[in-house]
C-alpha cells in the first residue's frame, strides 16, 4: 500500500515540475495562434477561443494591416550561421577529440584543461572585447563574424564530448584494423568513426542548438538583415511603447520548430548508442 502511495507522490512531483517547465512553452505556442485581444484580456483567457494563423501571415508580410518583418531573411541567416558553425565545430571537434583520445603529446593535459576553462568564462563577458576587435577588422554585421564566435563557443564542448566517445572505443579495434590491412586513416573512417557516430551526432545537435538559440552575442555583433539571426529578430517586435506579443510568439514558434524536428530526427542516435559487443565489456 505504501508503495502505491509513494508512486502517486512521485507522479505528482513530476507533474508539478513538468508543468513549470512546459507551461511557458505551451503559452508561447498558444499565443502564436490567437488574437491580440485575447492575449491582452484580463482575466487571462487560458484556452484560445479562436485559433488563427493571422500572426504568421502578419510577420511574413502577407497581411495588409502590418508591415512584415524579414523573417525569411533572418531564418536564412540563422540557418547559414548555425549549419556552418556546426559543421566546422564538428570537423575540428572530431580531429581534436580523436587527438586527445588517442595520441600522447606534450602539453596535452594543459591544452585540454584550457579548453575546458574556456567554458567557465561566460561568453557575454567577452562580448565587449570581441565587439571592439570585430569592428576593427570589419567583421561586425557579417555571417562570418558570428560564425567565428560560435565556433569558439562550440569547439571546446565538441572536443570534450567527442573525446569521451573515442575513449570508449578500445584502441585494439583500430589496431586490429591496422593489422587487417588498413592505414591509420582507413582504420579511423571504417572502424572508429562509425562507432563514434552517435557521439558525434549528439555533439552536432548541441552545437547546432547553441548556435541556433544564441541571443546575447549575436545581438551585439549583428546590425542589419545582412546577418541578424532569428533570436535577434525577436527584438523587432518591441517598439518604444508596445510589444507585439502575438508576432513575437509566432516567430518563436518558427525558431522552435526546426530545433525540435532536428532533435527528434537525431534522437535515435542520441539514445541508441552502439552496443559494444566486439570487445569484452
Amino acid at each position: 500500500m505504501e508503495r502505491s502511495w509513494q508512486r502517486w507522490l512521485i507522479r505528482f512531483g513530476i507533474f508539478v515540475v513538468m508543468t513549470i517547465i512546459c507551461l511557458p512553452g505551451l503559452w508561447i505556442v498558444m499565443t502564436a495562434f490567437r488574437d491580440n485581444v485575447e492575449v491582452m484580456a484580463r482575466p487571462p483567457v487560458w484556452i484560445p477561443e479562436r485559433w488563427t494563423l493571422d500572426n504568421f501571415r502578419a510577420i511574413l508580410g502577407m497581411s495588409e494591416n502590418q508591415q512584415g518583418i524579414p523573417v525569411v531573411r533572418y531564418f536564412v541567416n540563422s540557418l547559414i550561421i548555425s549549419v556552418t558553425s556546426t559543421i566546422l565545430a564538428l570537423l575540428i571537434g572530431m580531429m581534436g577529440g580523436y587527438a586527445f583520445a588517442r595520441y600522447r603529446f606534450k602539453g596535452k593535459n594543459v591544452a585540454f584543461l584550457w579548453l575546458m576553462l574556456s567554458r567557465t568564462v561566460p561568453g557575454i563577458s567577452l562580448s565587449l572585447p570581441v565587439f571592439m576587435i570585430w569592428s576593427r577588422v570589419g567583421l561586425i554585421d557579417t555571417d562570418f563574424g558570428v560564425i567565428l564566435v560560435y565556433l569558439a563557443l562550440n569547439i571546446p564542448f565538441t572536443i570534450w564530448l567527442i573525446d569521451g566517445f573515442f575513449r570508449q572505443i578500445p584502441l585494439s579495434l583500430s589496431e586490429a584494423a591496422q593489422v587487417d590491412g588498413c592505414t591509420r586513416w582507413q582504420a579511423f573512417w571504417k572502424i572508429e568513426f562509425p562507432l563514434a557516430k552517435s557521439g558525434i551526432a549528439s555533439a552536432g545537435i548541441f552545437a547546432f542548438l547553441t548556435s541556433w538559440n544564441e541571443f546575447a552575442l549575436a545581438s551585439q555583433l549583428t546590425r542589419t538583415t545582412a546577418s541578424k539571426t532569428l533570436p535577434v529578430g525577436l527584438m523587432d517586435f518591441t517598439a518604444q511603447f508596445t510589444v507585439d506579443w502575438t508576432g513575437m510568439c509566432a516567430m518563436a514558434v518558427i525558431i522552435i520548430v526546426p530545433a525540435l524536428l532536428l532533435t527528434f530526427i537525431v534522437q535515435k542516435h542520441l539514445i541508441a548508442g552502439l552496443t559494444f559487443g566486439g570487445v569484452k565489456g
Binding site: 585494439s172 586490429a176 591496422q178 593489422v179 587487417d180 582507413q186 562509425p194 552496443t275 559494444f276
Partner: protein, 367 residues
C-alpha cells in the same frame, strides 16, 4: 617460409627499458609461446612483431624481410587480441571478410575464404550475427577466424584466453592446438598462464623483466630449468626450493638443509659444487611422495618422516603440505587415500630428480 627473427630487440619508453636486447629465432610453422609474469615484456615483444609498437633498437625480420619500419598492414601477419577486438558494427561475416575487402579481393574470393574459415571454426551458423549476439567462446572463434582468412605468414596471439572462464579456456586451448595442426602457420602466442604455455607450445620462451630466462620445449623447461625463476614459474605447484650447504659425507657430495636433513646430490651435480657452497635444492611435488603412493622407479630415494600440516585433495592426487629444511614444501600422493592434518607419513624423496642451483646467482649447476 616465414621464420621470425628477433635480434638484439630493445624497447624503451623514455629512459625506462622494457625489453633489453632479446634474441630469438622462431622457425617456420613453429608454435612458440612467450610466457612470464605481468610486466616481463612479452606483450610488448609481440606488439613490436606486429608493428603496433615502435622498436627502440635491434631488428625484427619476418621471412627474409627486415620489417622494423613497416606498418602492421605490410607485414602479412594477423593478430588475435585479448579483448577479441571484433568490429561491433559488422556481422560475423563482415568481420571475417574485412581484411580481404581492404585488400580489394573480389567478392567471390572473399565469399570462398570466409566460408572456409567459418567451416574450420564452426562459425557457419553464426555468420549473420553481430559480435554483441555471441558468447565469449564464439567471439574468440570469430577473432581466430578473422586471423586465418588472410593466410598470413605469422599468427600473433595476445593472451587470447584470459577473458574466458576456466572450462571454456580449456576447450579453446584444444581448438587453438587443432587449428595450428590444420593451418600450419608460424604462431607466436603470449600468455601469463604456464599451463597454456606447456600444453600449446612447441617451444616456450620464459621472460622476466625484459630478458629471456630460458627457451626450450615444454619438457626441457620443466625437467631442466636453467634457474630458480623458471623452476618456480613452470609447473604447478611450483618447485619446492630449499636453502642448503654442500658438504662431503662418506665420499659423496650432500646438501645439508637448515633442519639438519642431508640429501645426497645427484652425480651430475656432485662435481659442479664445492664443499661449503651455498646452494638451493629444488624438487617437484611429484618427486616427494608418501611411501607406496609415488611414482615407481628404481632411483635412489631418501626416506623422510614428516607430519602433514594440510592435505589438499584434487581427485586423482592429493597435495600434502609439510615442512622440510625449515620451509613449507608440497608433496604429491598419487592414487590417494584420505589423509588427516597432523598425520605422520614417511615420504620418499627421489634424489635423482633433485635440482641444484647456485644460491647467489640462482642458476642451475646442472644445465
Amino acid at each position: 617460409m616465414a621464420e621470425v627473427k628477433l635480434q638484439k630487440l630493445v624497447k624503451k619508453y623514455g629512459n625506462v627499458g622494457v625489453v633489453h636486447g632479446i634474441d630469438l629465432t622462431i622457425a617456420h610453422n613453429e608454435f612458440v609461446v612467450l610466457v612470464g609474469p605481468s610486466g616481463c615484456g612479452k606483450s610488448t615483444t609481440l606488439r613490436m612483431i606486429a608493428g603496433l609498437e615502435d622498436i627502440s633498437g635491434g631488428t625484427i625480420s619476418i621471412g627474409d624481410r627486415v620489417v622494423n619500419d613497416l606498418p602492421p598492414r605490410s607485414r602479412n601477419i594477423s593478430m588475435v587480441f585479448q579483448n577479441y577486438a571484433l568490429y561491433p558494427h559488422m556481422t560475423v561475416k563482415e568481420n571475417l571478410g574485412f581484411s580481404l575487402k581492404i585488400a580489394k579481393q573480389d567478392e567471390a574470393t572473399i565469399e570462398k575464404r570466409v566460408a572456409e574459415a567459418a567451416e574450420i571454426l564452426g562459425l557457419t551458423p553464426l555468420l549473420a550475427r553481430t559480435p554483441g549476439e555471441l558468447s565469449g567462446g564464439q567471439r574468440q572463434r570469430v577473432a581466430m577466424g578473422r586471423a586465418i582468412v588472410r593466410h598470413p605468414d605469422v599468427f600473433l596471439f595476445d593472451e587470447p584466453l584470459s577473458n574466458l572462464d576456466a572450462k571454456l579456456r580449456g576447450q579453446m586451448r584444444v581448438e587453438i592446438k587443432k587449428l595450428h595442426q590444420k593451418v600450419k602457420t608460424t604462431i607466436v602466442y603470449v600468455t601469463h598462464d604456464q599451463v597454456e604455455a606447456m600444453t600449446l607450445a612447441d617451444r616456450i620462451v620464459i621472460m622476466k623483466d625484459g630478458h629471456i630466462e630460458q627457451v626450450g620445449t615444454p619438457a626441457e623447461v620443466f625437467e631442466q630449468p636453467k634457474n630458480t625463476f623458471v623452476a618456480t614459474f613452470i609447473g604447478s605447484p611450483p618447485m619446492n626450493l630449499l636453502d642448503a650447504t654442500t658438504a662431503t659425507e662418506g665420499g659423496r657430495k650432500v646438501a645439508k638443509l637448515a633442519d639438519g636433513v642431508t640429501l645426497a646430490l645427484p652425480a651430475a651435480a656432485a662435481d659442479k659444487v664445492s664443499d661449503g657452497q651455498a646452494i638451493t635444492v629444488g624438487f617437484r611435488a611429484e618427486a616427494f611422495s608418501p611411501v607406496g603412493y609415488g611414482l615407481t622407479g628404481d632411483s635412489e630415494v631418501a626416506a623422510i618422516e614428516r607430519t602433514v600440516t594440510l592435505p589438499e585433495p584434487l581427485g586423482t592426487e592429493t597435495l600434502l603440505y609439510t615442512e622440510l629444511g625449515g620451509k613449507e614444501v608440497q608433496g604429491k600422493m598419487l592414487n590417494p587415500r584420505p589423509v588427516q592434518p597432523g598425520e605422520q607419513l614417511t615420504f620418499n624423496l627421489d634424489l635423482s630428480r633433485l635440482h641444484v642451483f647456485d644460491k647467489a646467482s640462482g642458476k642451475s649447476v646442472l644445465v
